[in-house]
Symmetry: C2
Subunit: 417 residues, 2 copies
């Protein structure tokens, strides 16, 4: 099955937003083994949309549309498709009652143009929208499959994953299932990871194994086809065990995990509290942890000590230490970590200091970063020598801190989650 994704919306052609829907859908389709050969973007113009559909029908058998299902007069995707396919639009009562409920809940009257959103292509399978008003549609006609999805990513993404994808999976393989599982790694480059598991990558068939790198992380997506979910998971678990036997030390999580979410989970699970003293990151480490709901069970607080004087005044670091070793030093990172831990009365203290760039700092080249980890009686410092831009360096320092903290805790016998 070959697919084309058609995004409808003048805001894309004006360069106001990027076509992230096509990226999302393509990624999802690749998990199903469906080839995407084209993306097209066209404005809110029925004539040009119709021509684009005609081009797509010549080269794809699955055509997925995003956008143009809303209540305004600019929204004309389904009207254009209805006219092109000669399929009438009919009112879907489930969608209508959902829209009416939406307005009732907010105590607002429903205007007539909102009723338009409940019109669907006759004979289609309606895809429920749990995050907005406009329903999606799935229609097979003349050997081709048409799928209509709403434009806002927060509506499109769950609708595709939970409504549309199961229909496509069923269609592709009536007696089977396809399951994907992502392994997440940190502290190893994509090239090195590929070399280490070269045999697995070279000899893959089912499951397939696909590497991808971004933002200093590397992921491996394992995708298995089987008759049942249980069998698919069995295939995935076998392959996962093979991979982790080789590069397991670098794995930190799976699927939607992030380094910060895993760090917070591990801290909470082990009943550990944490504090930090941050110089170059200036609060970024603590702020990233605080993105995770529930973090107040582990993050007590800490210090931003941007200047040398702040390190002395807030943390009680000795002036002599800073004079002797400088602020970008193992000794300074260690003192920051220990003093933050003691002042805040936490189990763990983190110290982050360095030269973010673009200029050298305290005689150290841009990208030199020292991180201190104070865990009970254990004190460890690590040096990073990064070559990125100022803010990439700051973010990498935070990611590395999470990754290395989890490894240190595991070495001390704390359970990974």
């Amino acid at each position: 099955m070959n697919a084309e994704i058609i995004a409808v919306g003048s805001e894309l052609l004006l360069g106001q937003i990027a076509n992230t829907n096509a990226k999302f859908i393509s990624n999802q389709l690749s998990e199903l083994g469906i080839n995407v050969f084209y993306h097209t973007v066209v404005g809110d113009n029925p004539g040009r949309l119709k021509e684009v559909i005609e081009v797509a029908e010549k080269r794809a058998d699955l055509i997925i549309f995003s956008g143009g299902l809303g209540p305004t007069k600019d929204d004309l995707t389904k009207e254009t498709i209805a006219s092109h396919l000669n399929v009438p639009l009919t009112l879907d009562n489930v969608a209508l009652s959902f829209i009416e409920e939406f307005f009732a809940k907010r105590g607002r009257g429903m205007t007539e143009n909102n009723r338009k959103q409940a019109l669907v292509l006759e004979g289609c399978e309606v895809l429920a929208n749990h995050h907005g008003m406009a329903p999606g549609m799935y229609l097979e006609k003349d050997g081709r499959t048409y799928m209509l999805l709403p434009g806002p990513p927060k509506e499109l993404e769950p609708m595709f994953q939970f409504e549309a994808k199961p229909i496509l999976a069923k269609r592709l393989n009536l007696d089977g299932t396809i399951i994907s599982h992502v392994l997440r790694f940190y502290g190893i480059g994509e090239a090195e990871l590929e070399v280490q598991i070269q045999d697995i990558l070279d000899n893959q068939s089912n499951p397939t194994v696909a590497p991808l790198a971004s933002d200093g992380e590397v992921t491996l997506r394992i995708t298995a086809k089987a008759a049942t979910e249980e069998e698919a998971w069995k295939l995935i678990d076998q392959k996962k065990a093979e991979i982790l036997a080789i590069v397991g030390e670098f794995q930190y999580g799976v699927d939607d995990d992030s380094l910060t979410s895993k760090t917070v989970e591990m801290l909470l699970h082990n009943g550990l509290t944490i504090s930090a003293a941050e110089s170059l990151t200036a609060g970024l480490f603590q702020s990233e942890l605080a993105e995770i709901s529930g973090v107040s069970g582990t993050l007590v607080g800490g210090f931003v000590t941007y200047t040398e004087q702040a390190k002395i005044d807030q943390l009680g670091i000795e002036k002599e230490l800073l004079e002797k070793f400088g602020v970008v030093s193992s000794e300074c990172a260690a003192a920051m970590a220990v003093n933050a831990r003691k002042l805040m009365g936490t189990d763990i203290g983190i110290g982050l200091t360095g030269a973010a760039g673009p200029e050298p700092h305290d005689g150290q080249p841009a990208g030199t970063i020292w991180i201190g980890f104070s865990i009970g009686d254990t004190l460890v410092t690590r040096k990073l020598e990064l070559s990125g831009m100022r803010n990439t360096n700051r973010l990498r320092a935070v990611k590395y801190t999470c990754s290395y903290l989890m490894r240190l805790l595991a070495e001390k016998g704390y359970a990974r989650v």
Copy 2:
């Protein structure tokens, strides 16, 4: 002139990256008044690329390609176009010496496949690549214009802006120039801003005025065409004055300014130092300021006081105050701001507290945020009631803090920059 943008690259069709190049180019073309009617994405496949070019030639007179100019055998954009247009490829000596220099600088030998990057379409105008090896190309043939750009955004963006755009501008208006200037607003919604300057929006011709909203900010892009740069700027300055006479109180910057960069600039310009005590934002305010190089001249440091106990221990806030008013209160935000300022010995102290969400906090609904501003003897608190997700709320709180701080400082007579 009507344009189509064709991105070449299988990584786009696999959903590994979004087509941000099309967004960037579209935005740039809209400044020139060039309509973009289609974006197309196609893989690294010469047959399908050729078909896509044939479709584009029927509907566009400017066709811009991105990607596929590199040294590997997958890179075949220019080879396919050369064959399709029946134009030979010739070696560009300037590009070749640039590539040789690139390798010499790094002390590495140049492999033969890198030579391929110096081949260009015969008769084209070569677009220099100052951030990579593959040059771009501009070619007019049979009444159509073809532009080839490299895929990596850090190469494509400067090449488009500084090499390609001037050629297009010249082509559109031989004796004139087009200049764009962006005004940035915060604290006013897009709809309200449009209502306030409705007359200006309704009666625009030259300069044009285009509003755009994103991430809680609103921008107005003023674009003027004139015979000389001087005249274009005169037109822009007149229109800018008209707009700012109505909504000037909400404007914080222009062009590439951000709320944080303007805040740091204003603090540095006025010789003011700042500190903060952060609860729900947990360091995000200080970390965002620290994104700006040179911030150490104003940001001394501060506190992350995530728990109630941390507010008491680190900041010396009285337990009675927290018991009486709660941690999500004007009183708490005020005490955090004042105590941070005094403890850090700075001119300004900021206090941030609230319920980020998704759960209520201390009896206050998610999205309730209090910000304290302590500036010398002045103490002001402001309440926000936001309805976003947890991390949107945290980021909005930081943006609002910057915006409101600049207004408070201006009211006290400090110079805006």
